[in-house]
Structures are given as structure tokens and as C-alpha cells.
């Protein structure tokens, strides 16, 4: 089983990205869960969302404490929240940032596998708004191979309707341009 934790800010689409991941995994014929860190949502406030993907039926409804993957949609959160808390040493950290991998490692203290992409920049190019949730899914899929990009496209189309095409373009660009560096 793979467990995921998403860090973002209210309004940025972290919950949606967790949902799209789970919907895609189910379409891939796997078992999956996605759920928000339940609370009164406030735009701009730090929020978390969780997901699980498994080959077998998932029998666990507690929060994710030791994720295999942490995805950070807003880099400024790394200054406020310990985004790598509980992340398995052999896990993956996916970060939206214009900084270099070395800077991210220094600032987060993360020594394991790291994937970075300038999510906001890509979002501004394609979606014209700094909402980078679909962008980061592209980076996540490339770095982890956890779901198929074909079924993700179906899920994005269903969710976004007329803005699906720009979201897929953003997702694809992140998929092509994500930089993955192996850990120590």
C-alpha cells in the first residue's frame, strides 16, 4: 500500500488532487481512498489531504501518519509546517518550487528521494492562475508511477469540463519537466 499526504493552502486544490489521484487509481483497477483533513476550510490557511492506493481492499480509516509520498503544493509551507514529518526514509517528497534541489534539501532537511517542479510557473502559463494541483499530479505520476496518466486524463476531463484541456497541458508539462534526484 502507498500512503500520500498533500500539503497546500485552502483554495489551492490539494483536496482535489488527492481525490483525482484516488479516482484514477480505482480506474486503474486498484483500491484507493482520498480524504481531506476535515475541518472548516479557509482560503489561504494550511490544509492537508490524504490518499491511499493499494492492490488489496484498504481496511484503515485513520489518518496517514507515515506517508510514502508527501506532496507540497505551496513552498512557503515548508517554513511553517514540518512537511517531512513521518515521511518514510525511502519515501518521496514532491515539491512545487522554483528553487534548486540543493536549496530544498537544505531548507527541508530531506535526504531521501526528491522531485521538484516549478508548479506555479507552469500553472500560470497554461491555466493563467496560480492553482497548481493538476500540475503537481503530473510531477507525482512521473516520479512515482503510482497511477496511469491515461486514466488521470479521464478523471481531469470529468472534473474540470471546459478547463480540462489547460489542466492536462499543465499536467503534461510537469510530467515532462519534473527533476527527480535520488536520496543518499
Amino acid at each position: 500500500m502507498l500512503e500520500f499526504r498533500f500539503h497546500g493552502r485552502g483554495g489551492q486544490g490539494s483536496v482535489t488532487s488527492a481525490e483525482l489521484l484516488a479516482i484514477t487509481a480505482v480506474a486503474d483497477n486498484k483500491y484507493a481512498q482520498a480524504f481531506p483533513s476535515f475541518g472548516p476550510e479557509r482560503r489561504g490557511a494550511p490544509v492537508q489531504a490524504f490518499a491511499r492506493i493499494s492492490e488489496e481492499k484498504i481496511l484503515n480509516r485513520s489518518k496517514v501518519y507515515n506517508p510514502d509520498v508527501v506532496l507540497v503544493l505551496d513552498y512557503s509551507l515548508t517554513q511553517m509546517v514540518n512537511v517531512t514529518e513521518g515521511l518514510k526514509p525511502d519515501g518521496l517528497l514532491v515539491v512545487s518550487t522554483g528553487n534548486t534541489a540543493e536549496q530544498v534539501r537544505t531548507e527541508t532537511g530531506w535526504k531521501g528521494r526528491l522531485a521538484i517542479v516549478d508548479g506555479v510557473n507552469i500553472a500560470m502559463t497554461h491555466i493563467k492562475r496560480p492553482i497548481n494541483n493538476t500540475v503537481m499530479l503530473g510531477a507525482l505520476i512521473k516520479a512515482s508511477g503510482c497511477v496511469s496518466i491515461e486514466n488521470m486524463k479521464v478523471a481531469v476531463n470529468e472534473r474540470f469540463g471546459r478547463i480540462a484541456a489547460v489542466n492536462m497541458a499543465a499536467l503534461n508539462e510537469a510530467h515532462e519537466n519534473v527533476l527527480v534526484s535520488e536520496g543518499e
Partner: protein
């Protein structure tokens, strides 16, 4: 072939309500139930669902309107949570008294105060004695499968009682998970048209909800009690039919690993899924423990519950609500009451957990099982354990 998709449980439940071709929905939004009626109202608005949607100014009115539409013979649905369910309180008793088969989904949530939107079973346990059939779903799939079952049970001529489908707020209601949908034709074959025995009709006037003078009130209450008690065979029949349609087992009391279990936990709702992992983890260490899950809470399935217990010698009852000041909380109270009138005398220990959204971890449940093993080995006694509460 059933369609399997990743979908939020609330949406799947709302889809099932629409596929039951409901005639009337009256509702007031309240977290965490909101997504259900939000989606139903959208479909009614878009002309995709041919039903009357009555937006009301409170849950008290939602339930009152539901009684009205049900009384004229409309298949009626509503949904609520927490304070909303509490606000319905006085009207809730009237639905079974007037024998109106309203179906209501309750996304279980704690009650104020302190104000909390999070999950536990406080809301429904405060409405334990309202005379409705009360069923607890474990996951999103059960929310979907049990929705048509609730309508079929409620409207059966041998039952005609309102029915509540409980499911855990957020933990189930807001969870995206894989759910297999039935085809529309399966719904249509399974659920016949609602044919009320009596209905409010201007051409054929009748009175519903008249005063019950002392000469008749007692008999009316007795008849209502018997109607609820006697609904169990029909509930079992409908559950068996759902099992056949879906290939998933639907019994009034479920069990897990009870054939081998040395000790067992009794619990309701989605907590059992997490507990199954605890059972599996202990099994890997050679320790056999089990779970008993009453899916049906009212009428309480006494015989089936005792049968599932078998000759186990230690059980722990898990409550997710308080009965303030009582000797035991609701589930433990029910179980002890059932046991006392039977010839079974397992040792009973009591637990409270998952209150007001407090997360429940697999390790906590493993610890509870191990504590029960210790009870079995040493007879150790202890008062109600409040798992995870800070002192």
C-alpha cells in the same frame, strides 16, 4: 456488470437515492451530510431527477415536510447530521406513530457542546428510542447498497416504518473510495413502486395523527413497538436479497474471525474496517481475536447477536457516544442488557473511543484486544476505558 468507480460515499448514496426514483426530498444543509442533498437538489434543478425538492428553513421543517409528502404517498427522502437531527427530535417520533416510511440518511456527527462538526455517534444515540428502524453502514459501498434496501424495508406492507441509514460523517461521507454501482434495471426490479396502505387524499378524506386519549394511547404505542420488533424478519429477507444481487454478504449482525477468536470487540459503523487490520496484524502473530458488528441497531437483533457471540468468554464493547451519568454507554448498555436475559455470561469490558473526530489508530485497537486477552487469562477487571483521552 456492475460499474466500479472511485467516488465520494455521499455522492454514491445520493446517486442511489435518485436511482430509487424518490418522489420528494425535503432538507436543510448541515455538515457533513450537505453533499447528499446538494447533489440531489442539483439533479432536480437540472431536470435529471423527477422529484419535488423542498428547501426548508430548518430541520424541524424538513422532517415535518417529509411527513407531509410521505402521507400523500410520495417516496420521501431526507438527510441530516448532529444538531439538525436533534432539531428534528419531536417530529421524529411522529413518523413511526403515523406509519410513514420516510428514509433518512444520517452522516453521524458529534453534538454540541463544545461545537464540533466531527464524527462520532452522539447524534443518533440521542435518538435511539424514536421508533425508527436504524441501520449502520460500514463504508461507501454499504451506503450505496443499503439505500434501496432501506426504501424496500420501510415500504414493505409488513413493516411500514421510517428508516435511518447511519454512516460515519467525514470518515465515510467525505471519503473517495471504490464503489460498485447497480444498474438502473436492478434497482427497478428490486424496489417496487411505493403503494401506501392509507394516504391523505382530498377525494377520500381521512385523519392522520389524531389525539390519543388514555383509552387508546397505550394500545397505539404497543402497536408501534410490535411493528418495530416484528420488522426484523423482513429486514433479514431484504438483506438476503441485497446479498444475492451484490455478492456481498448483508446480515443483521456481521462478524470477523469469530470462528477462531478467543476474545472479541463489539462495535458499529466504519470503525470495524480499521479494527479488521488490527485483527489481521494480531493473527500474523498467532493471536486470534474477532469483531462483532451489529449492522442493525433498531430493532436490536438479539438472537442473531447471541448466535454470533457463540461461546466466547470475553468481549469488549466499543462506544462512540456518551450516555452521561449512566452505568454504561449505549452499545455496552444494550449488550449487557441482552446478555443478562440470555444464558451467556461472557466477561464484558467497556471502551469509548473516536469521540468528536478523535482519530482511531490501528495500534490502539490492537492494545484493546491484548487487554481483553489479559482479561481472559487473568480475569483482570477495570472500569470503562476512555481510549486516547488526555488527562
Amino acid at each position: 456488470m456492475a460499474r466500479r468507480k472511485g467516488v465520494e460515499s455521499s455522492i454514491a448514496l445520493a446517486d442511489a437515492v435518485a436511482m430509487c426514483k424518490v418522489d420528494a426530498i425535503s432538507a436543510y444543509p448541515i455538515t457533513p451530510q450537505t453533499h447528499i442533498v446538494e447533489h440531489l437538489s442539483e439533479w432536480v434543478n437540472d431536470g435529471e431527477l423527477d422529484a419535488e425538492f423542498i428547501p426548508v428553513e430548518s430541520e424541524h421543517s424538513a422532517m415535518s415536510a417529509a411527513l407531509g409528502t410521505s402521507a400523500v404517498g410520495a417516496r420521501t427522502f431526507t438527510a441530516t447530521s448532529s444538531q439538525g437531527l436533534a432539531l428534528m427530535h419531536e417530529i421524529l417520533f411522529i413518523a413511526p406513530a403515523m406509519r410513514l416510511p420516510v428514509v433518512m440518511a444520517v452522516a453521524n456527527r458529534s453534538l454540541s457542546g463544545p461545537i464540533s462538526i466531527w464524527n462520532d455517534h452522539s447524534d443518533i444515540m440521542a435518538e435511539r428510542d424514536i421508533g425508527w428502524i436504524q441501520i449502520f453502514a460500514e463504508n461507501g459501498q454499504e451506503c450505496f447498497d443499503l439505500t434501496p434496501a432501506c426504501f424496500k424495508i420501510a415500504e414493505d406492507k409488513r413493516v411500514i416504518l421510517p428508516t435511518i441509514l447511519n454512516f460515519d460523517g467525514f470518515i465515510v461521507s467525505h471519503m473517495i473510495e471504490p464503489i460498485e454501482y447497480w444498474e438502473q434495471e436492478t434497482f427497478d426490479k428490486f424496489l417496487p413502486e411505493f403503494e401506501p396502505q392509507i394516504r391523505l387524499d382530498v377525494k377520500n378524506p381521512s385523519t392522520m395523527g389524531a389525539v390519543g386519549v388514555p383509552e387508546i394511547y397505550y394500545e397505539a404505542r404497543m402497536a408501534q413497538h410490535m411493528a418495530l420488533v416484528n420488522s426484523k424478519p423482513v429486514i433479514k429477507e431484504v438483506f438476503a436479497e441485497v446479498s444475492q444481487i451484490t455478492g456481498r454478504e448483508y446480515k443483521v449482525v456481521e462478524s470477523y474471525n469469530m470462528e477462531k477468536a478467543e476474545v472479541a470487540l463489539v462495535m458499529m459503523g466504519s470503525l470495524t474496517e480499521t479494527a479488521m487490520t488490527a485483527v489481521n496484524n494480531l493473527k500474523a502473530k498467532g493471536i486470534e481475536v474477532g469483531i462483532v458488528r451489529p449492522r442493525l441497531w433498531r430493532p436490536f437483533p438479539t438472537e442473531e447477536f447471541l448466535e454470533v457471540l457463540g461461546d466466547i468468554s470475553v468481549i469488549g464493547c466499543v462506544d462512540r457516544a456518551y450516555t452521561f451519568g449512566a452505568a454504561s454507554h449505549p452499545v455496552a448498555s444494550e449488550v449487557k442488557s441482552v446478555l443478562y436475559t440470555s444464558d451467556k455470561r461472557p466477561q464484558v469490558r467497556e471502551y469509548v473511543m473516536g469521540i468528536g473526530g478523535r482519530d482511531v489508530r490501528i495500534e490502539e485497537i490492537e492494545d484493546m484486544f491484548m487487554q481483553l486477552i489479559e482479561v481472559k487469562n487473568t480475569g483482570k477487571d477495570f472500569p470503562i476505558q476512555y481510549i486516547g483521552v488526555r488527562e
